[in-house]
Amino acid sequence: MKKRQMFLRMITASLMRRRSRMLVALLSIAIGATILSGLVTIYYDVPRQMGAQFRSYGANMIFVPADTAFTEQDVRQGAAVIQAADLVGIAPYRYENVRINGIPVVAAGTDMQGAQAASPYWHVDGAWPAKDGELMVGAKVAESFRLKVGGEIELSYTPETRTQEELKTVQDQTCTYQITGILDTGGSEEEYVYMSLPDLAKLTVDDGKVDVAELSVSGGAEQLEKYIEQINAAVPAVTARTVKRVTASETTVLTKLQALVLLVTIVVLALTMICVATTMTAVVAERRREIGLRKAIGASDKSIVGEFLGENLLLGLLGGIIGSLLGFIFAQQVSIHVFSSSISFRLWIVPVTILVSIAVTGLASLLPIRSATEVDPALVLKGE
């Protein structure tokens, strides 16, 4: 039998046949590894989870015209730069002054589905317009004109290009629409009338112009800046910008949350080390006679260190394996209960957890193992 085989036989026998003792040590390592693995998983998943949460607060990127205006084609071209998975919603807007009963109101033409996705916090009393001839009105407009869901409304439009002469002779464009919903946002959106872009084009007899586009894009601030750089380079008619109010607060919250998770991870690692060191000190104290016996029959300090370190590293390995699996379950539960979505398994966290677990156990064992080498066989083996 080779020495290495005997070494393995001894350390596995020590772990397997002294189960109750080693279980305490294994438990503390496994708990530490579980929290480490869970928190690291959460740490790396927080931007995705929080990004999804932040997206419910509306657009974080806008397209404005580089010159005077841009087209829907430019919006599509700009949006194509963004990866489909990152693009939560895109809403192009065209604003025109229209009149209701001769009183001017701003009409916004948009893609209703896109607006719904980009601004999920909008509350619509009734339904979003789904087909031509339907519109929704802002709460303030509805209040001013006493409009109700299901009612009809006539909008008139006077092109800005008309001369004074034409204004006297040519009649305004008018169209009648059915009101499907009343928009309640608590913001300036309540002062507008919303209809589809084709409906607005029909009313204004002018097609394809877009004043601004609002985009909701998932990903961190860095990713957003990259997209903006690429869009500005690829689509000259468009100037893309971040909505600073949203992205800055998103970055701040994410940074603080990640720092908190990191801090907790460090504290947990330190506590694990203290726990393992305490357990190992108790184990060494309990095994003083065995250590004395080993030294008496010829074990060098190096052998004693090797055997104890071997046992502890094996414990670290086992604790790391258990912890990395339990950690994923822990992170999954946190994600489901806090963010209401499942977490993706990151394979690389398994070896990292195992290695950190081994390293922490090794470090925590150094002092107790050192004290093991100081055991005096003559003292501990003294007859009774």
Partner: protein, 229 residues
């Protein structure tokens, strides 16, 4: 040259002289017992001869080497290579089986060999208990495993500290019979005991009192094949 020679050995703790000018020799193949009451210095002498302690003064020559001048590292090597230890409390590793406990001594000495370890257990009549843990063995059986572990590396000296102190009469007889066998095979035995019956079967009996050798008695009836009775 004697295998072991103690010259003017003192062990002093403050005012206490645990060993006080001790001189004696042990020849190769000799069986010597050291006896005396509690506090006479037996354990101190056992620790010094067993290279687990150093004298305050004097020379302890083992195979011509003064172990009093050796470093702790060298003393470990001497223990490993030249001395087989037997303890009153057996001191077996409780999570290793009987054969693994014997192999432990091989592991630190040279190379573990399960076959040889099993043969050693067979010599002490424990071949059938090789896979048992110490907790599954009786006191006598544990002491026989301890003997097998002590002899596995064929040491120069087997040093036994109260080897029968925790045994009943039957097991005491078995262990002493084993010592006879080992002695017949040429092993040098030093047995520290306070039991006169165990001490008297040795070739020579040294009596310690207050750290001094008060008596050295040669067993005139020792034939080399003497039985314990």
């Amino acid at each position: 040259m004697s295998l072991l020679e103690l010259k003017n050995v003192y062990k002093i703790y403050g005012e206490l002289h645990a060993l006080d000018n001790v001189n004696f020799t042990v020849e190769k193949g000799e069986w010597v017992s050291i006896m005396g009451p509690s506090g006479s210095g037996k354990s101190t002498m056992m620790n010094i001869i067993g290279c687990m302690d150093k004298p305050s003064k004097g020379e302890v020559l083992l195979d011509g080497v003064d172990i009093a001048k050796e470093s702790a590292k060298n003393l470990t090597a001497i223990r490993r290579d030249k001395i087989g230890l037997i303890f009153q409390q057996f001191h077996l590793v409780n999570y290793l089986t009987a054969v693994e406990n014997v192999m432990l001594a091989q592991y630190y000495h040279s190379m573990p060999d399960e076959k040889e370890a099993l043969e050693a257990l067979e010599r002490v009549g424990l071949a059938g208990r090789a896979k048992h843990l110490p907790s599954q063995l009786s006191g006598g059986e544990q002491q026989r495993v301890c003997v097998a572990r002590a002899l596995i590396n064929t040491p120069e000296i087997i040093l036994a500290d109260e080897p029968t102190g925790n045994l009943d009469e039957k097991n005491e007889e078995i262990v002493v019979d084993l010592f006879h066998k080992l002695h017949d095979e040429g092993t040098t035995l030093i047995v520290v005991t306070h039991d006169p019956e165990v001490a008297e079967v040795a070739q020579r009996r040294i009596v310690l009192r207050d750290g001094k050798i008060t008596k050295s008695v040669v067993n005139e009836n020792f034939t080399g094949k003497i039985r314990f009775s």
